[in-house]
């Protein structure tokens, strides 16, 4: 449900860099830890972009998987809960935010926290400056 607020923030960021020119595409990196539903974000983006220079723009999402690092022992891992083979029907397997090697609690997010507007595409009509 935070997709509406995030769509608004993406449109605002794009408009700030567009200087009143028409935006036809917005490229955004979304990390897995942001819990964003891509279809929902695209739906709200189209609504929020209405009556702005982003109206009708294509939203391109690059989904970035999560990757954590233990600052103590240097272990790196994927925290996504993976179902155990043969036990898919059981209760969800817990995500692993605790270091699987030394079991310490402090973790660094290497990847997966992104919510970054990478670039925008501006489309301008050719203005013909004909000599008199």
């Amino acid at each position: 449900m935070h997709e509406l607020s995030i769509a608004g923030a993406i449109v605002d960021t794009a408009l700030r860099h567009a200087n009143d020119r028409r935006v036809t595409r917005v490229d955004v990196q979304v990390g897995a830890l942001r819990q964003v539903v891509p279809d929902s974000l695209a739906f709200y983006f189209a609504i929020v972009a209405r009556d702005t220079a982003c109206e009708g723009a294509r939203l391109e999402l690059e989904l970035v998987g999560a990757w954590l690092r233990c600052p103590t022992c240097g272990q790196e891992w994927d925290p996504a809960p993976a179902p155990v083979a043969g036990h898919e029907a059981l209760a969800p397997v817990l995500p692993a935010f605790r270091c699987p090697a030394c079991e310490r609690a402090e973790t660094e997010v290497v990847r997966g926290g992104e919510l970054e507007v990478e670039s925008i595409e501006i489309t301008e009509e050719e203005t013909c400056i004909a000599p008199r």
Partner: protein
């Protein structure tokens, strides 16, 4: 037609972060420490706050109440003779579901910041959006009540990771529920290992002393060098 790619490389929430930092500067100048209190609707934030603020000796506290509509919560806090300001978010798109840094900024003039040690910002009840928007706070507290079920940390890890303290409320209801407290704490530890938590009942007062002591110690903790 002429197409140009413009590099942006900017976090979509940068604008909010900038205003949050301005709020934080104002809070620091006034010497007030700020707690952002978050939870699902009905987890008991306001009751917990009432119990925490009454007899909070030696700490001058104020409250900023965020709600989509109405001033019921602010009225309850005002009854404790605590300075309180109500922020309604219903002029957004169907009612904003969270407070952002700018909304908080718009209300700062109405609070006697210089006369406060502690400001508690009670966010709009929601387990998703408030986690995304910093408002200039020193600490974030999440209230989770036992009626919500033990699976909530697994469903809303963003929120359960975006806080420094988790208060488990409505403990008095445990005998009537099949809520598995150990399972909840294991789930909490899985998404936010080592996060501080306390078990309370705002209704019966169980565990409230620890919550009040935590609140009273916030200004000192914020002043201590990290």
């Amino acid at each position: 037609m002429h197409r140009t790619k413009v590099k942006v490389a900017e976090d979509a929430l940068d604008a909010n972060e900038t205003i949050a930092r301005a709020n934080r500067d104002d809070f620091d100048r006034a010497g007030v420490t700020v707690v952002n209190l978050m939870s699902a609707p009905g987890a008991g934030k306001t009751t917990l706050l009432e119990r925490g603020l009454e007899r909070l000796d030696g700490v001058r506290a104020g409250v900023l109440e965020g709600d989509v509509q109405g001033s019921m919560d602010a009225d309850r806090i005002a009854a404790l003779h605590v300075p309180v300001v109500q922020l309604n978010t219903d002029n957004g798109f169907g009612g904003e579901c969270h407070l952002d840094a700018n909304m908080v900024r718009s209300a700062l003039d109405e609070l006697p910041l210089d006369e406060l040690d502690l400001l508690v910002i009670e966010n709009v009840g929601n387990l998703v959006c408030p986690a995304e928007f910093r408002v200039g706070e020193d600490a974030r507290v999440m209230v989770s009540s036992v009626t919500e079920g033990e699976d909530k940390p697994l469903k809303y890890p963003l929120m359960f990771r975006a806080c420094e303290l988790v208060v488990v409320n409505k403990l008095d209801l445990l005998p009537h529920l099949d809520f598995d407290l150990d399972r909840f704490l294991a789930n909490l530890d899985a998404v936010h290992p080592g996060v501080e938590h306390m078990l309370v009942s705002a209704r019966t007062g169980e565990g409230i002393d620890a919550w009040r002591e935590w609140l009273a110690a916030v200004p000192a903790r914020a002043a201590a060098p990290a």
